[in-house]
Amino acid sequence: MSLEVEPSLSFQNISMEFPDGTKAIADVSFDVSKGEFVTVVGPSGCGKSTLLRIASGLLEQTSGTVKVDRSNIGYVFQDATLFPWRTVRSNIELFLELHKIPKSDRAEIIQRSIDMVGLTGFEDYYPKALSGGMRMRASLARTLTLKPPLLMFDEPFGAVDEITREYLNEETLKLFSQEKFAGLFITHSISEAVFLSTRVLVMSARPGRVIASFDVPYAYPRDPSLRFEASFADLSGKINEALRSAHT
């Protein structure tokens, strides 16, 4: 008898070759389970986004198996992908519309998500009136409304300044503890990766393979000052080394 729970997402020997012959991913296998926050780093073009697209079913892999429940996956894109003609509130409502949540239940769910990401008071703003960081918050709020058990992030905080990014990281962790989703995160920032994750995977240049895996030992909740501890720097250094060897 096994005590292991099914992972929320399982890649088994995934390879991807595009019709034009581009080999994006070669034989990638790893799991993401409930309570885990896995971050993937790797050189540009190594197939990280492709991996998420395969997990979510936007793309089909050429070989290998993905095990995942696609009925409710959260997917945060690199750009906030807010519909410009909808207010923050109405952008969040879009998801509820698409999933046929009755009108009478919506207001409460929407307010909860807005409060959760700290956008209270900005409900009726259009995206063009929000800063980049606030747009990402709105995008997060929208994704969280449906309480996805698996949440995937594709470089969500790449376009905001360093300090905003740190705040957003801290809030992401708060949401991670609160909402208890399994997280799969993509970034180019090593410190972001270490700060957020339970595990950091390093991918090689294209075709992407997983070439290293680092467990991050810190318990949650994590203090912002963790970023300046010696062991944090140490781990970041090792990941940096692995990442350098990936750039060939």
Partner: protein, 259 residues
């Protein structure tokens, strides 16, 4: 200060320049030829001040406005339908573009005998000219707007299992709205031209502005001719402004073009 003046002054300057050029040309004509381009104020002293002329022009204006609006309405209905269908069915886009371009390029005058056989000399034929002339911008701009949705937004809809109807209604159409209103603006102006051209080809029925233009030219009533031209362009400007304001109203809150 500043903002308001910046929006008011430039168009006023161009109107004054236009009037100046008009006066200049008119003054340089030999007295015997001056009737060809009477000075601007004479439109008022000799045409609009005459109650008979005023009534003629006004009743024609109403007829032409009706014709242009009916034509525009048909063009909008057909254009929007075609745009949506072309978006939905790629083959239809490829099939209809050559026809659209040909329709746009064909001198409508050349097929007018054919049209009289099919639709007579009355409202039907005039209306068709109006539709043909004002149609083109609508399906083409709409299609451009529908297609210029960001791919990641489509991914979002795909992730949530949105069927294509929902995708069009909630994503592609709102995205195309600013493009569509640009098309409506252009088409509205064209529909006025189309109505007047139609009236000039097919002269049956009560006279609209198109017939008046011909009539006044034949009668050498050049003040009335120019008065009619002025009214025609005011009509064009009005419908253009109407759609500009409506479009802004509907999109200014969110669209980047509105400041």
């Amino acid at each position: 200060m500043g903002g308001r003046w910046k929006t008011v002054i430039p168009p006023m300057i161009s109107v004054f320049v236009l009037l100046g050029v008009w006066y200049g040309f008119s003054a340089r004509l030999k007295p015997s030829r001056q009737f060809l381009l009477p000075p601007p104020h004479s439109l008022f002293t000799k045409a609009f001040s005459n109650s008979r002329a005023r009534e003629e022009i006004l009743s024609s204006l109403i007829l032409t406005t009706e014709l242009a609006l009916v034509g525009l309405l048909i063009a909008v209905f057909l254009g929007v339908s075609l745009g949506l269908l072309m978006y939905r069915f790629g083959w239809l886009e490829r099939a209809s573009y050559p026809v659209l371009v040909a329709l746009q390029a064909v001198p409508i005058l050349a097929i007018s005998p054919l049209m009289t056989v099919a639709f007579g000399y009355g409202f039907g034929s005039k209306c068709i000219v109006c539709v043909v002339i004002s149609f083109f911008p609508i399906p083409t701009n709409l299609l451009l707007g529908l297609k210029s949705v960001e791919p990641s937004m489509h991914d979002l809809m795909t992730l949530h299992g949105a069927p294509w109807r929902t995708r069009i209604r909630k994503l592609a159409l709102p995205n195309a709205l600013p493009y569509l209103f640009t098309a409506f603006r252009i088409s509205a102006g064209l529909s006025v031209i189309g109505a007047i051209v139609g009236e000039q080809f097919f002269q049956q029925g009560k006279p609209g502005l198109g017939q008046r233009l011909i009539q006044y030219r034949v009668l050498l009533e050049y003040e009335r001719l120019y008065a009619t031209l002025l009214v025609s362009s005011l009509l064009g400007i009005s419908v253009y402004l109407f759609f500009t304001v409506l479009g802004k109203r509907l999109t200014y809150k969110w669209h980047a073009s509105a400041s």
